[in-house]
């Protein structure tokens, strides 16, 4: 990680960097959505849409995939779910 603030003078920033884990998509993640799966999911959701709208949705749901893959790949162990903000976290 490169230093962004100048290193001389009173405005200099201190550097103390525990580097973040690299954020990458899991290799070989399968494609989640195609026209068939989308149609099935719409049936489950009781959404009866025209072919045109199914195509429009298909074009946008594919953008969900990287986020879903990233979240699903995380090993969260015994971490319980949070249902809302809890000031006790801090």
């Amino acid at each position: 990680m490169s230093q962004l603030l100048p290193t001389d003078g009173p405005a200099a920033a201190e550097i103390d960097l525990p580097l973040s884990p690299e954020v990458t998509e899991p290799p070989g993640a399968p494609q989640l959505y195609d026209a068939g799966t989308l149609a099935a999911l719409l049936r489950v959701a009781d959404l009866t849409l025209t072919d045109e709208w199914q195509q429009k949705l298909l074009a946008t749901v594919n953008d969900l995939e990287p986020a879903l893959h990233r979240l699903r790949a995380l090993d969260l162990g015994e971490t319980p779910p949070a249902t809302a903000f809890d000031a006790r976290w801090f």
């Binding site: 230093q3 884990p21 954020v23 959701a45 849409l49 953008d63 995380l74 949070a82 809302a84 903000f85």
Partner: protein, 487 residues
């Protein structure tokens, strides 16, 4: 009476007025020294709002007569020696997903029951009313605080007053435009993933996302129950403090409302940030390849000014920042879908064209995805809490770019582009967006200051300290040129 928003006959007259862009604090002082009255101030603003609304789309409804009646009452109170505080007689905009007596609530949607919230004030509006505020009208929102503008549904389409071809961002678009263009001195927005801070960012003013539970959110059409918040929007951090000290505090009608003491925020903003510890989370927030250099440099310049005032800054890292954005989007999408599911099934065509796919995407997450995102929320909040053991505030850009051209925007781009705001809804922390300069082409830039739970005073104090030595928040768009458009 609500003003007919198509009316523009007064545009030429209004254009001849000297347009003031007062802060709330300035107006409060002027109201008390007798140099203006609330009626005169309100009449000017209502006239400007009516004239410019065709060009800017800031308001769904302008409640001109009711506003003037409130203003007259404020002036009578002043004359009688009754002073209810700095918001008395101050014209404000109320986002149109918040209930307000005397005006319907539409959520900019043909789906919401027109009787929703009728005849009632949300607790936050009731508090502002009791403080003597004046309500100019109901300001434009993205449909249900989620979609993008859709002219086919008959609601005003919001435009950025710095360049009407560019987005004013959402979802609190109308309040953002109104504050920037001088069509209100402040107002209310709601923020679930950045809807107060986004408009503040691209319209060039200040917007505060409060700690979850700090302001009661009953009387607001929900977007995502576990993430929603109501925040003040105004020209300056000091003005946001004046608003928040009236808005904040427990109310039993909201199960998430926090019973936590409300400081007198404005009295804590003294410009003294000596010893303040600033963390700069570099990965993702400062080094993303979609972050525009002008944005980054303006934030770092602001940080250097704060360091020059006695703060210290350290570059650091928050792990899993990309996943935090993902988790906020997933939880927001799932909770919004749960709320809208039956209407989507039965009234699909009534939603705007750009709202439908955004809401429908919530159907494609599994229950396990929602639980996983909620588990991530626990883990990531703990990581952020660890960071706050070492820092008083974190500072990031408010957004990776200045206002985009509307014609270049894509409804699903928020899924794939970096975003710097939803992280703090996920953790529930307070975060203020403030102007940090302008691009070479004259568009506002913005930085975000994040604090510990219920530390609104700290983030506002840092923002105010910077605004004492800069004037970016006081600069305003050239709205005079828009009168020709309106006429």
């Amino acid at each position: 009476m609500s003003t007919d928003l198509s009316m523009n006959s007064s545009a030429a007259d209004a254009a001849s007025h000297s347009h003031k862009f007062l802060t709330i604090a300035d107006a409060a002082a002027a109201l008390r020294d007798g140099s203006i009255t609330s009626v005169a101030l309100t009449a000017d603003i209502v006239e400007k709002a009516t004239a410019l609304n065709p060009a800017l789309g800031a308001y769904v409804t302008i409640t001109g007569d009711a506003a003037l009646a409130q203003a007259a009452a404020a002036d009578v109170a002043f004359a009688a020696g009754n002073d209810f505080g700095p918001l008395q007689g101050i014209p404000l905009a109320i986002k149109d997903i918040i209930a307000m007596k005397g005006a319907g609530t539409t959520a900019n949607s043909r789906v919401l029951d027109p009787a929703w919230g009728a005849g009632t004030d949300a607790p936050v509006v009731a508090r502002l009313r009791a403080a003597g505020s004046v309500f100019v009208g109901k300001s434009t929102t993205s449909e249900f605080a989620l979609g993008m503008p859709d002219a086919s549904k008959g609601f005003p389409v919001p435009h950025n007053p710095w360049d009407v071809e560019r987005t004013p961002a959402g979802s609190s678009s109308g309040t953002g435009i109104a504050v920037a263009a001088g069509l209100a001195l402040g107002g209310l927005g709601t923020d679930t993933g950045g809807s107060v801070r986004g408009p503040a960012c691209v319209n060039g003013h200040t917007g505060l996302k409060v700690t979850f539970g700090r302001v009661p959110k009953s009387g607001v059409v929900p977007l995502a129950f576990s993430l929603d918040s109501i925040g003040p929007m105004a020209r300056s951090a000091y003005d946001c403090a004046l608003l928040l000290e009236v808005m904040a505090g427990y109310d039993a009608s909201d199960p998430n409302a926090a019973d936590v003491e409300v400081p007198k925020y404005s009295e804590l903003l003294n410009g003294d940030i000596d010893g303040l510890k600033i963390g700069l989370p570099i990965p993702y927030f400062f080094d993303h390849d979609q972050l525009e250099p002008e944005v980054r440099d303006a934030v770092l310049s602001g940080v250097q000014q704060l360091v020059g005032m006695g703060a210290t800054s350290k570059e650091m890292a928050l792990p899993y920042a990309a996943e935090a954005k993902d988790a906020n989007m997933l939880i927001l999408g799932a909770e919004a879908y749960a709320y809208h599911r039956n209407n989507l099934v039965n009234r699909w065509e009534d939603y705007g064209n750009l709202t439908r796919p955004t809401l429908a995407r919530g159907a494609f997450y599994t229950a396990a995805d929602y639980a996983q995102a909620s588990r991530f929320r626990s883990m990531w909040s703990a990581e952020v809490a660890k960071a706050f053991e070492h820092y008083d505030v974190l500072i990031t850009p408010s957004a990776p770019s200045p206002a985009q051209l509307v014609k270049d925007m894509d409804p699903s781009q928020r899924l794939v582009q970096p975003s710097y705001t939803g992280h703090w809804n996920l953790t529930g922390l307070p975060a203020v967006a403030i102007p940090s300069g302008f691009t070479a082409s004259g568009l506002p830039l913005s930085m975000q200051i994040i604090g510990k739970p219920f530390a609104e005073a700290t983030v506002l104090k840092v923002a105010d300290a910077l605004q004492r030595v800069t004037n970016w928040h006081l600069l305003h768009p050239p709205v005079e040129t828009l009168y020709a458009t309106a006429a």
